[in-house]
C-alpha cells in the first residue's frame, strides 16, 4: 500500500468513526443486474477512494434474482456483504435473521428514517410493517407509472379524431377508463406508415411480472390484500366484486389494446416495444425513465410520463424498489455499515439521482429544484405518494406464485371468469397462510 492510499484509508476510517486498524476490506454488493446497478458501480468509485475498501459487485438478472439470492441467504452463504434485496423479502430476511437489524447503527450514526420518503421506509425497511424495526436503508425508490408518446398525442389530426370520438381532448388520462380509451384509440392505427398498438403492459408469467402489472388495476378498483380491521382475513377483500371488476378491466386492456404477442412481457420487453415505436403507452417501473429520455428515437421531449391513473375504488400504484441491507453471514460488517453510512449522505444521494438512481432521501426529492431537474421527476414524486406493495410476509413467494398462475390463466389464457380466478386465489392464499400458522 502506498502512502497516498494509506492516508486515504486512515481518513476514511476516521470519517467512519471507527477506531480500528486501517484494514482495507473487499466488499461484495449484490443486486439485480439492471440499469441502476451499473450507475451504482460508477457511484461507488467515490466510496472506494474515500474509504480504501474495494467494492466488488454481483448482479443477478431479475428473473433469477430472487431464486439465486434467497438461495444464498437461506444457505448462509458469504458471497454478499451488502444486499440490495427486493422489498418483499424483508419479512423472511428479518424473521430468519438474514439481515442485521440496523436500529442501533442508525441511532449511533444519526441516520433518521424520517429523512426518507415514508412509503420507502415502510416498503423497504420495516418488519413487522408499521413498527420502528429497520432492516434496510431505502436505496432505490421505484414505482409503476406510465410513459406515453407525447409527439403522437400532439398531432392535430389525431387530437381532432379523438375529440370527435370521445368528446374530450387527447391528453394524459384522468382515470383508468380514459387510459383504456386512449390505448384502444391507438390500437392498430397507422402512424407514419406503420401499424401501432395501444399499450405495453406487464404480462410476464415466470417471475412476478403480471402481478406487478395487474395490481395497478386491482388496487384502484377496490382490491385489498386483507381486511384492514382483521389481518389475514381475505374473503370478500381479495375476491370482492370490485376486485373482480378490476381484473376484468386488465383483461379487457390486454385483449383490446396491447400489441400481438405481448403475452409474456415484463420490463425489458415493454421498453423494446416502446422504443421501437410499436406502442403509444407503456406501463413500467420508473427506473426506465432516464433511459427513455436519452433514447434517440423516443427521448428528448417526445415522451411524457404520468402516474397510474385512479379508478373507481381508489388511487394507488404498485411499489417497486429496494433497500440496502447488511448480510448477517458477512464477516465484514463494519466495512459494510461504513458503506451504508456513506451512501446515506446528502451529497452522495444527490449524485445518485443525477446518475439515474432514484434517491429516497427527502432532502433530495423535496429540493425546490428537483421537480424541474428531469421531465419525469414530478411523476416519480406523485407516484411515490400513492404506492402500495405486495405481501412482504416470509412466505411472500408462496403467495406470489399462485397469483401469477391464477391471473395469467385468466388474463392471457382466458380460462374461467375473473371472479373464479380471485376465488381460486383466496383458496390458495388461505392454504399458504394456514401452513404459516397465520390463520
Amino acid at each position: 500500500m502506498n502512502v497516498k492510499t494509506g492516508v486515504k484509508v486512515i481518513a476514511g476510517a476516521v470519517m467512519a468513526g471507527a477506531i480500528q486498524t486501517a484494514v482495507a476490506d473487499d466488499l461484495t454488493l449484490c443486486w439485480a443486474s439492471w440499469d441502476p446497478a451499473n450507475a451504482l458501480v460508477e457511484l461507488s468509485k467515490d466510496f472506494e477512494a474515500e474509504s480504501g475498501h474495494k467494492m466488488s459487485f454481483e448482479f443477478v438478472p431479475w428473473p433469477n434474482f430472487a431464486d439465486r439470492m434467497l438461495n444464498e441467504l437461506n444457505s448462509g452463504g458469504g458471497l454478499c456483504d451488502l444486499m440490495i434485496g427486493d422489498s418483499q423479502w424483508i419479512g423472511g430476511a428479518a424473521e430468519n435473521g438474514h439481515y442485521i437489524k440496523l436500529n442501533d447503527f442508525f441511532a449511533k450514526e444519526g441516520i433518521d428514517m424520517g429523512d426518507f420518503i415514508p412509503a420507502t421506509v415502510t416498503g423497504y425497511s420495516e418488519w413487522p410493517k408499521g413498527t420502528p424495526n429497520y432492516w434496510a436503508l431505502p436505496a432505490f425508490g421505484d414505482v409503476v407509472g406510465w410513459t406515453y408518446r407525447k409527439d403522437w398525442f400532439e398531432r392535430p389530426e389525431l387530437r381532432k379524431e379523438y375529440k370527435a370520438k370521445y368528446g374530450r381532448d387527447l391528453d394524459v388520462p384522468n382515470n383508468l377508463d380514459e387510459l383504456k380509451d386512449i390505448a384502444q384509440f391507438f390500437q392498430k392505427r397507422k402512424i407514419d406508415g406503420k401499424t401501432v398498438y395501444g399499450a405495453a403492459i406487464y404480462t410476464e408469467r415466470g417471475s412476478e411480472g403480471i402481478t406487478m402489472g395487474v395490481t395497478n388495476a386491482l388496487y384502484n378498483y377496490g382490491f385489498e390484500y386483507s381486511n384492514p380491521a382483521k389481518p389475514y382475513d381475505l374473503k370478500g377483500f381479495v375476491n370482492s366484486k370490485e376486485a373482480a371488476a378490476g381484473l376484468e378491466y386488465y383483461k379487457e386492456l390486454y385483449d383490446t389494446a396491447t400489441p400481438p404477442g405481448s403475452s409474456n412481457w415484463y420490463m425489458g420487453e415493454n421498453i423494446d416495444a416502446y422504443k421501437s415505436g410499436q406502442v403509444a403507452l407503456q406501463m413500467n417501473f420508473a427506473f426506465i425513465w432516464p433511459g427513455v429520455e436519452a433514447d434517440p428515437n423516443v427521448g428528448g421531449g417526445k415522451s411524457g410520463y404520468f402516474p397510474n391513473p385512479p379508478g373507481p375504488g381508489g388511487h394507488f400504484a404498485q411499489l417497486g424498489g429496494q433497500g440496502i441491507s447488511v448480510v448477517a453471514a458477512s464477516d465484514k460488517r463494519e466495512a459494510a455499515l461504513e458503506y451504508i453510512k456513506w451512501f446515506a449522505q446528502k451529497k452522495v444521494q444527490d449524485k445518485w439521482w443525477k446518475a439515474g438512481g432514484y434517491s429516497a432521501l427527502r432532502a433530495v426529492v423535496e429540493d425546490p429544484g428537483f421537480v424541474s431537474s428531469q421531465p419525469y421527476a414530478k411523476t416519480f414524486l406523485d407516484s411515490m405518494a400513492i404506492v402500495k406493495d405486495f405481501w412482504a410476509e416470509p412466505a411472500y413467494a408462496d403467495l406470489l406464485l399462485p397469483m401469477q398462475e391464477r391471473i395469467h390463466d385468466y388474463v392471457i389464457a382466458g380460462k374461467g371468469t375473473a371472479q373464479q380466478a380471485l376465488d381460486g386465489l383466496v383458496k390458495d392464499w388461505t392454504e399458504v397462510l394456514q401452513d404459516e400458522g397465520k390463520l
Binding site: G92, G206, P259, P260, G261, N264, Q278, P394, D398, H408
Partner: protein, 315 residues
C-alpha cells in the same frame, strides 16, 4: 492428431506406474478401472437421490431454518397426487415429449436417408445442420422469444413473407393454441440434427451386400426400404428416441426461457413446476416427493423401453 497424442501418452507412461500396475490381476484391474466411476456416481448422484427420498417424507423447508423438521409419512405424496395442477403439467409434458419425438424422428430420419445418397457436399451440409444443437438451450430459448415477436421477430416475418398472413395476426407464445407448438418447434430446430446423426450412423452401418442381394432377387426399391432399411435402422432410431426422451422429460432451460410456462400454465412442464416448488416456494420436503415421483415415472418408462430395445437389438 489425437492418435499421436495417445501414442505419446502410451510411450510416456512412466515405467514405475506400469510396473506397479503390472502385477495386478485382471480382476483387480477391473475394480481399479470401474471404482472411480462408481464412487463418483455414488457421491454425486446416488447420495443426493437418497437424501431426496429421505426429505420427501419430511416437512423440511430450506428457508425456515428455525422450524423443526418433522417426519410426516406419505403426506407429501398424498398432496401431490391429489393436486389437479400436477396432472395438468404432466399432460403438458406428455404433449411436448410425444410431439417432439414424432416430429424429430420423421424429419431426422428423412434427412439422414437423403444425406446417405452421398451427393456432393453432403459432409459440409451435415456439419452445418448440426450447428443448432451446439448452442446453449437457455440462450436458444431466450433468443427465440425475440424471433417469435410478432412485430420485430424473424419467425413471424418469414411466415408472413411466404404465406401472406399478416405477421402481427398471430403470436406463437401468447396464443393458447400455438404456444404448446412454439416450444416443440424450437426443440425440433435444435435437436433434430441429433436424431439425424444417429439415423445416419445406422444407415451407414448397413452393408451394401444386403442391398445387392436384394437387387438380385429383384426386390423393388420400396420393398427394400421396408424390409432392409427400416428394420436395420430401427435399433438406432430407438436409441435416439431413448436419449431424446430422457432429455425432454427433464426439459427445463429452453422452455423456461422461452415461455416462462405460460400462457397460463399451458407450457409449465414438470421440471418447471418442480423448480417453482423447490427453489421459489422452497418447499423442500414437498418438492423432494415430487422429484421422486418424476424419477419413478421416467425410470419405469425407460426400463420398459430398454427391454423393448434389447429385444429389437437381439432380433
Amino acid at each position: 492428431m489425437l492418435k499421436l497424442l495417445v501414442n505419446k501418452l502410451a510411450l510416456k507412461t512412466p515405467r514405475g506406474v506400469s510396473k506397479h500396475v503390472r502385477g495386478l490381476s485382471d480382476k483387480k484391474l477391473a475394480w481399479l478401472f470401474v471404482s472411480p466411476t462408481i464412487i463418483l456416481l455414488l457421491a454425486i448422484n446416488i447420495f443426493p437421490l437418497l437424501w431426496t427420498i429421505y426429505l420427501s417424507f419430511t416437512n423440511y423447508r430450506v428457508n425456515r431454518p428455525n422450524r423443526d423438521v418433522k417426519w410426516i409419512d406419505l403426506r407429501n405424496y398424498e398432496r401431490i397426487l391429489s393436486d389437479s395442477d400436477i396432472w395438468q403439467t404432466m399432460q403438458a409434458t406428455a404433449h411436448f415429449l410425444v410431439s417432439t419425438l414424432v416430429i424429430q424422428v420423421l424429419i431426422g430420419f428423412t434427412l439422414a436417408f437423403l444425406i446417405n445418397k452421398k451427393f456432393k457436399g453432403n459432409d459440409l451440409l451435415t456439419t452445418l445442420i448440426v450447428l443448432p444443437m451446439m448452442l446453449s438451450p437457455a440462450v436458444v430459448g431466450n433468443f427465440w422469444t425475440f424471433l417469435y415477436q410478432p412485430q420485430i421477430g424473424l419467425f413471424n416475418y418469414a411466415i408472413s413473407f411466404f404465406s401472406g398472413v399478416d405477421a402481427s395476426s398471430f403470436s406463437m407464445i401468447g396464443d393458447v393454441h400455438l404456444a404448446p407448438w412454439a416450444i416443440v418447434i424450437v426443440d425440433t430446430w435444435m435437436w433434430t440434427p441429433f436424431v439425424m446423426l444417429i439415423c445416419l450412423a445406422g444407415l451407414r452401418s448397413i452393408p451394401d451386400s444386403i442391398y445387392e442381394a436384394a437387387e438380385c432377387d429383384r426386390a423393388s426399391q420400396w420393398r427394400q426400404f421396408w424390409t432392409i432399411t427400416i428394420p436395420m435402422v430401427l435399433p438406432f432410431l430407438m436409441l435416439a428416441v431413448l436419449f431424446r426422451g430422457i432429455e425432454n422429460f427433464k426439459m427445463f432451460d429452453l422452455v423456461v426461457q422461452l415461455t416462462g410456462g405460460g400462457p397460463g400454465s399451458l407450457t409449465t412442464l414438470s421440471s418447471i413446476d418442480l423448480k417453482r416448488e423447490a427453489f421459489e416456494k422452497w418447499k423442500t420436503g414437498y418438492s423432494s416427493a415430487y422429484a421422486v415421483i418424476l424419477f419413478v415415472t421416467v425410470f419405469g418408462l425407460a426400463s420398459i423401453y430398454v427391454k423393448a430395445l434389447n429385444k429389437v437389438k437381439d432380433r
